[in-house]
């Protein structure tokens, strides 16, 4: 049978490979956003610095010198000054990125996995299971996150692992709520109905139609949590509920440098500056990602 060719010519595609995926489009749009690009570069620098720290030819972060305490920024020996135990601030800050990033990112990653699973399940199944899950999540929402984090950390005890666990528990309900809401929206779309009409079972529908459309928005929301997580993690360390001395970690460093604030205010503020820069970069990147994903 002859092909029905009422179409004449179809509108020409721009000169790029046909069928470039959605994520490639997102990446392209992200590249065009100057703020997002700068934020990404900053994050990349800090992350690379944290990963490659041992090979960067820095001083030993644990070796201090009581003679050379609290040197200012720009000192001959210590480029960013030295802390209250005479340790080089620059190397402490770079090494500190490891723990701070770990304690900031891990809870979000774990919460993303846990929260998405629970939320997508609740959203897709609907009905009473949904009510049960979501009302349980609501209970957690009643607590302010800082309070909850501190309470959980206090109950579990100090330490990095416990801090990560407690922050994961704090963030999972938030991710669950977003996951459930997005899944509920997608579930009623025509193409999901069309998939059901094709005879697909729920697992196939979730895998092919729901996940691809739902994970994106959840992911963006999760990235916006990273900045919060870093601050909370630093806060827990500041309170002594997270990492313990002599580990370099920005929140902990803020605590131990507290007393030096009248002597070397700039040095004492440096860890805070790192937290701020990293956290806001994640935030801006997350915003840029959201805008890049919004285009239909």
């Amino acid at each position: 049978m002859a092909v029905v060719t009422d179409l004449g010519h179809a509108p020409a595609l721009p000169a790029r490979r046909i069928g470039r995926g959605y994520w490639a489009g997102v990446g392209r749009r992200l590249m065009r956003d100057p703020v997002a690009v700068i934020a990404a570069i900053v994050i990349l620098t800090i992350v690379l610095g944290a990963i490659l720290a041992p090979w960067l030819g820095l001083a030993d972060p644990y070796r201090g010198s009581m003679l050379r305490r609290l040197r200012p920024v720009g000192d001959a020996l210590y480029r960013l000054g030295s802390d209250e135990l005479g340790r080089d601030m620059l190397t402490r800050l770079v090494y500190g990125g490891r723990l701070s990033l770990l304690m900031g990112l891990m809870p979000v990653v774990l919460a993303f996995v846990a929260g998405s699973t629970i939320g997508i399940l609740a959203g897709f199944v609907g009905g009473r299971l949904n009510t049960l899950i979501m009302r349980t999540v609501d209970v957690f929402y009643a607590f302010p996150s800082v309070l909850l984090a501190i309470a959980l950390s206090g109950a579990l005890g100090a330490g990095i692992l416990n801090a990560i666990v407690s922050l994961t528990i704090v963030f999972t309900p938030q991710v669950t709520r977003i996951a459930e809401s997005v899944t509920t929206q997608i579930r009623t779309r025509d193409y999901v109905e069309a998939a059901r009409v094709s005879g697909a079972g729920p697992l196939a529908i979730i895998r092919v139609h729901v996940l691809g459309n739902v994970l994106g928005p959840i992911f963006v929301y999760a990235t916006s949590l990273i900045s919060v997580s870093m601050i909370l993690a630093s806060g827990l360390s500041f309170l002594g509920l997270g990492s313990k001395p002599p580990e370099p970690e920005w929140g902990l460093m803020l605590n131990t440098l507290r007393t030096a604030i009248y002597v070397q205010p700039v040095v004492a503020a440096l860890p805070g500056a790192m937290i701020f820069i990293t956290s806001i970069s994640f935030n801006l990147l997350s915003d840029g990602l959201r805008s890049a994903m919004e285009v239909k």
């Binding site: 049978m1 092909v3 029905v4 060719t5 009422d6 179409l7 179809a10 509108p11 595609l13 046909i18 069928g19 995926g21 959605y22 779309r189 025509d190 193409y191 109905e193 069309a194 998939a195 059901r196 009409v197 094709s198 005879g199 697909a200 079972g201 196939a204 092919v208 139609h209 691809g212 459309n213 239909k296």
Partner: protein, 353 residues
């Protein structure tokens, strides 16, 4: 192509005389509260009575057009037949077998009946390419990936799109008409015998609408399909359909051959719908609106004949008695007391002796 037509024809069971789809007394109410006692125990009060006792047949190889305004229930009927929502009462029989029973389970039924939706954009998963969308149905039913993609390419070309250029595109890279063609290809991927088109061309530009209508006509002839064509546009229904069913507020008002009904309507509502079409003659414009007011709310439909509140020919008996769907000629049925002998309407024939 002939293989596809043979596949479809081989699944025929009852022969040409048996209707492909027979619907009896379909009822669907939405929402409302359950009444606790009294005569209406179990029924819901304040429910939207979207479909309230609809019966019709669809013969093999024909196109049944369904027209009606908002609130008439035509989209709900489509969804009930597709088994997207469960009916409150009534039965759907496909080629002699009741749907949902052991004779015809839902999975098999899904390969026989498919649907094309109105919103071409919302019907396509924005993350899947055209070929993946079309191949999804066959894959779910067990076809291997390569064979499914091959079938998808075949169908994509049949709906007028060049697979080399369109198979790997995403929905946002297509125009409205192209998207609707993809929807049609997707619906045909499972080789259904019955295709339900729910306002499938309503959202398209007029020039594209004509193209897609032509395509539907061609596909129907090529594959030996049967169509249920739902639309609010009488012109389009007239072009596409062999028979037409007019619905009003959840019930069938009139059903019969297309040219008979549209040339000589027996139900006042059908006549009003026809008269409401804008005139194409600048010298003979419409001077009076055939009906006043909006279609009433299906939550609290009028008693007796549901149309009596807007009918110019209504008599007192119309408010008291709901007219049955009566035969008045060759496969022409009307739900109007004027056509029911002995109903008590001044224009009705007296009871046949």
């Amino acid at each position: 192509m002939d293989q596809l037509r043979t596949d479809i024809a081989s699944r025929d069971r009852g022969g040409p005389a048996q209707p492909l789809l027979a619907v009896r007394d379909l009822v669907k109410h939405f929402g409302g509260r359950r009444a606790w006692g009294g005569a209406k125990a179990g029924a819901r009060r304040g429910a939207v009575r979207a479909v309230d006792g609809v019966s019709f047949d669809v013969a093999k190889g024909e196109t049944l057009g369904i027209v009606g305004e908002s609130g008439c229930g035509k989209s709900t009927v489509a969804r009930l037949i597709m088994q997207i929502i469960a009916a409150d009462a009534g039965e759907v029989v496909f080629d002699g077998e009741a749907v949902g029973t052991r004779a015809l389970d839902l999975t098999t039924y899904r390969r026989e009946v498919q649907m094309v939706f109105q919103d071409s954009y919302a019907s396509l998963n924005p993350r899947l390419t055209v070929e993946d969308t079309v191949a999804f149905g066959p894959r779910v039913h067990g076809l291997a990936r390569r064979a499914a993609i091959a079938r998808a390419h075949d169908l994509i070309s049949r709906v007028g799109l060049d697979p080399a250029r369109f198979a790997a595109r995403y929905p946002h890279e297509l125009s409205g008409g192209q998207r609707q063609r993809v929807n049609i290809a997707r619906a045909l991927a499972l080789q259904p015998r019955l295709l339900i088109l729910d306002e499938a061309v309503s959202a398209l530009d007029k020039s594209i609408e004509a193209q897609v209508l032509n395509l539907l006509v061609d596909l129907k002839a090529a594959f030996g399909l049967t169509y249920m064509f739902i639309s609010h546009d009488l012109n389009v229904v007239r072009f596409m359909s062999d028979r037409v069913m007019v619905m009003y507020l959840g019930k069938v008002a009139e059903v019969g051959a297309c040219d008979v009904i549209l040339r000589d309507p027996r139900h006042p509502y059908t006549a009003a719908l026809l008269a409401s079409m804008p005139s194409m003659d600048p010298d003979r414009r419409t001077t009076e609106a055939p009906l006043f007011g909006d279609p009433p709310n299906p939550i609290d439909p009028p008693s007796g004949c549901r149309f009596h509140t807007r009918c110019k020919l209504a008599a007192p008996v119309c408010a008291a008695t709901a007219p049955p769907l009566a035969d008045i000629g060759a496969a022409h049925r009307v739900a109007c007391l004027m056509a029911t002998p002995g109903s008590g309407h001044p224009q009705a024939a007296p009871e046949a002796a």
